[in-house]
């Protein structure tokens, strides 16, 4: 293989798409939020969403949510073909309003968690997760 100017450009282009373009939030995601909150305002505090800044593989991304005083936490992957991930509903014997799971992300995008508190208020947290494509064989 000779290193021509063209090859260099192809390689360069390959490098720059490595993280892919961020995926935009779909209308479906906005609808899910409206359905869950009834359009109510959401506080930016009271909920913590932990997710890696860069996911090693979009197939298995560990995340954690925690919202003391919540009855339910909905998690959405705003750029997935179907944005729903999971909704944790906490019962009377929940030891905390905390949950951890592993999720699929179709590409670099925002993961959003919305808590519905016992007093009827809502809180929202969002994390951008960069999803890399692999080395050999994706």
């Amino acid at each position: 293989m000779q290193l021509s100017r063209r090859n260099v450009m192809i390689m360069g282009a390959g490098a720059f798409v490595a993280f892919g373009l961020p995926m935009r939030a779909s209308a479906a995601a906005e609808e899910r939020i409206a359905e869950f909150t009834g359009g109510a305002a959401m506080a930016e505090t009271g909920i913590t969403l932990t997710a890696p800044e860069i996911a090693e593989n979009g197939n298995t991304v560990p995340i954690e949510v925690s919202a003391p005083g919540a009855e339910a936490i909905m998690i959405l992957a705003m750029g997935n073909p179907t944005p729903g991930v999971a909704t944790f509903n906490f019962g009377p014997l929940a030891g905390s309003q905390y949950g951890s799971t592993r999720i699929r992300l179709a590409g670099t995008q925002d993961v959003v968690a919305i808590a519905r508190m016992k007093d009827g208020s809502f809180a929202r947290a969002s994390r951008n997760v960069k999803v890399t494509i692999g080395g050999c064989g994706g």
Binding site: M1, Q2, L3, N7, V8, M11, G12, G14, A15, F16, A18, F19, P52, I54, E56, N57, N59, T60, V61, P62, T132, I133, G134, G135, C136, G137, G138
Partner: protein
């Protein structure tokens, strides 16, 4: 321009965007189940013959979350398949009416240390045998059962069980005596350039480990963690399947799982990791 420089340009381009945080193996200690301290970074054994100044498990090239996932048997999805193999271990199959347990008792005791020394010369058969070959020899000769597909689910689950009970023990494959010829053949394959990209194993895993290939780290290609649960395909993968993938990625016609070429390559690559702890089933990307 030489090929080496072409490759360097490629890696350079990828590293530019990925940033320095991703380049080097991560310094960390793998303690399994808060109990077994694993050797994941050590001095090369004589088998390496000066090719590497240090021997590093693929674990160090993975992200924080992935490394943590392997440190706990419950968090490690590969262990689900170990449990499935425990059922298979007890299952009577074949004309002799035997299970693995009929001869070998508890896998935790009888299989301890086995993974660490395979591939291994078998005097009676007059060949170097991988763990898979030995399992199938047991099935066909002792149990009167059908052999398993070399890289099929049943086989890989069983190798995961056998590996899991040796975790923490050092890889220690023998490369002298009658195994030498196979080892030499494996070494030759390791340094042979394959495919349209004309890449050898060494071009990536010896010359460029610690650098980026597209958006991922290049490891030393050690196989002490095999079989490995890959996040990419969410199942266990054998070393031969990984070899196959690597050679395919050089745009070459690849060898088959269980082929004499891969058996030789497995012995050679395993020997480069002599001294590292057995980790399988590990977690990789």
């Amino acid at each position: 321009m030489t090929r080496t420089k072409t490759i360097a340009a490629f890696f350079g381009a990828a590293a530019m965007i990925a940033g320095p945080a991703f380049a080097e193996p991560v310094e960390d200690t793998l303690i399994l189940n808060e109990e077994i301290e694993m050797v994941t970074w050590t001095d090369p054994s004589p088998a390496v013959d000066g090719a590497l100044s240090e021997v590093i498990s693929g674990w160090h090239f993975r992200g924080d979350e992935t490394r943590a996932m392997q440190a706990d048997d419950f968090d490690n999805p590969g262990m689900m398949f170990v449990e499935q193999a425990r059922d298979a271990w007890e299952t009577v199959e074949g004309t002799a009416g035997k299970s693995c347990a009929s001869c070998h008792g508890e896998a935790d005791d009888s299989m301890k240390g086995v993974r660490a020394v395979y591939p291994k010369w078998n005097e009676t058969a007059g060949e170097v045998r991988t763990l898979e070959m030995q399992i199938n020899a047991c099935r066909t000769e002792q149990m009167g059962a059908e052999p398993w597909k070399y890289a099929g689910k049943d086989m890989i689950n069983m190798t995961a069980l056998i590996s899991s009970v040796s975790r923490g023990m050092p890889v220690n494959v023998a490369i002298d005596g009658p195994a030498r010829e196979t080892w030499e053949k494996g070494k030759e394959i390791y340094y042979t350039r394959f495919g349209q990209l004309e890449l050898s194993c060494a071009n990536c895993h010896e010359d460029n480990y610690g650098r980026m290939i597209r958006a991922d780290h290049l490891s030393q290609g050690q196989i002490n963690g095999f079989p490995t649960y890959r996040l990419k395909n969410t199942k266990l993968n054998s070393a031969h399947s990984r070899f196959k993938g690597c050679i395919r990625d050089t745009r070459a016609e690849t060898f088959a799982e269980g082929s004499p070429e891969f058996i030789a390559l497995e012995l050679y690559v395993a020997s480069r990791g002599n001294g590292l702890s057995v980790e399988g089933p590990s977690i990789r990307n």
